[in-house]
């Protein structure tokens, strides 16, 4: 997130990558007076997924938000009017409205780096190597096809180019309810 902000020179009010802290569970006392808990917490790093069916592209009135031949979804600043419809429609909160610039701003997949055979700056900077970048088929072969865990939306909605290795404490159906604990950190 910080590498991205630095590389793209973003103001404090805009971040292309966000880290969601998903947490839940409770403590309960059993009949012997012993406290037990099913508390859990995990983190989901979210940016634009350059979806196969990007809703931001679908609703954009000027065609500024577009998907290029390489599959990257980005903003054409010569067309964008800054109406903010893309930001309203994206279920991943990827496009932002840069009020100062008067246009939408979003992750462009570090296309300039990718064209030079480099990985996006967030992937290069991640100290735990939790992020990876490649063609979606290659990623699916390596990591599987899971593309939705709470708090992400149903992946059928926009078909994100994303695969996730399920976190150890990921909520499964029937498990405890969780919630996003750090929503006020999200910009």
């Amino acid at each position: 997130m910080m590498a991205c902000k630095d590389y793209h020179d973003l103001p404090s009010s805009i971040s292309y990558r966000q880290i969601y802290e998903y947490t839940g569970g409770t403590w309960q006392k059993d009949e012997k007076g012993v406290w037990e808990n099913d508390c859990f917490s995990y983190y989901v790093s979210v940016s634009c997924n350059h979806c196969v069916q990007p809703e931001c592209v679908q609703v954009c009135p000027t065609g500024a938000m577009h998907k290029d031949d390489e599959g990257f979804v980005s903003v054409n600043s010569e067309r964008c009017i800054g109406c903010g419809y893309c930001a309203f429609a994206c279920p991943y909160k990827a496009p932002k409205v840069d009020r100062k610039k008067g246009q939408s701003a979003k992750c462009d997949g570090c296309k300039d780096r990718v064209m030079e055979d480099l990985v996006p700056i967030c992937v290069e900077a991640c100290p735990l190597r939790a992020l990876d970048f490649d063609k979606i088929d290659a990623l699916s072969t390596q990591y599987g096809i899971l593309a939705q865990i709470p708090p992400l939306p149903d992946s059928n909605e926009t078909i994100p180019n994303l695969v996730i290795t399920e976190p150890k404490h990921c909520v499964r159906p029937g498990g405890p309810d969780g919630s996003v604990a750090n929503y006020h950190e999200i910009v």
């Binding site: 009017i81 800054g82 429609a89 909160k93 708090p151 909605e157």
Partner: protein
Amino acid sequence: MMSLGLQTAFHEITLVLFTTLAPSGALGLVVVAGVVAFSGIDVFERKRVNKFLVLPLAISMVGLVASATHLGTPANALYVFTGVGRSPLSNEVFAAVVFLMLSGLYWLYSFARRPKRMLQNVWLGLIMVTGLIFIGTIAFAYNSHTIIAWNTPYIPLNLALNALVGGPLIALLTLQLARIDLIKGVMGKSLCLVSAVALIANTTSISLQNSDLGMIANEVTSLPEVVPYYWIVMLAFFILSAGGIVLFARPVFRGTKLKLPVSIAACSLVLVGIFLTRFSFYAMHLTSGL
């Protein structure tokens, strides 16, 4: 979560204003156009109504201008027409431009020394059709399957009913300014009744929507947390609009003289009520995801 919703609505305050004024202004214009074309008023009355047609036109236009000010880069605005057919927002802007251009040109033409009546009637017919299409496109402007708060039948229904609450009163005000005696008869009463029935229908729709809010949630929050005050908005909308309708309907039904300040106050009350519903519309924005 409530503060985030309010923030969104304040950011989009010009759109709140646009979606308050334009549907009612457009419907008002549609009604007035219908009166000019089909009610059989005499040539002098026609002339006067044509002149005051500028009132609903201005109300619709103020809305459109207001919405343009929310754009960050209006210089690129012409590209909006490239999205017609794909983006619901492009459809709305296109319909707005066609409707307002037709209406504006009609208004100018009505000042011609000998305007052709037949041509004017066809023109008015076109204004009526495009006006209704314009209202329809505003109703569906945010029709996106990922915006779960807005992807419900209540949203277009509320907007269309808003137009039916405000439009007839704006039409009445226009006809009153043009000193059309017909409004003292069945026409005036019917317009007040349409507005009143639409108010009841819209309040019912908002109340049903309010009771369904709990079903709309993502992993972050749910609508009852985002707009916990929605029932208060519904109540305020009903009281303000009912007040406006009663102010207008009293002299119409009693057959007493309509006073201009009272009629203006009546329209303003209704529009403030509608404004509150539109404000909460933007405040309740919620996607299926984050």
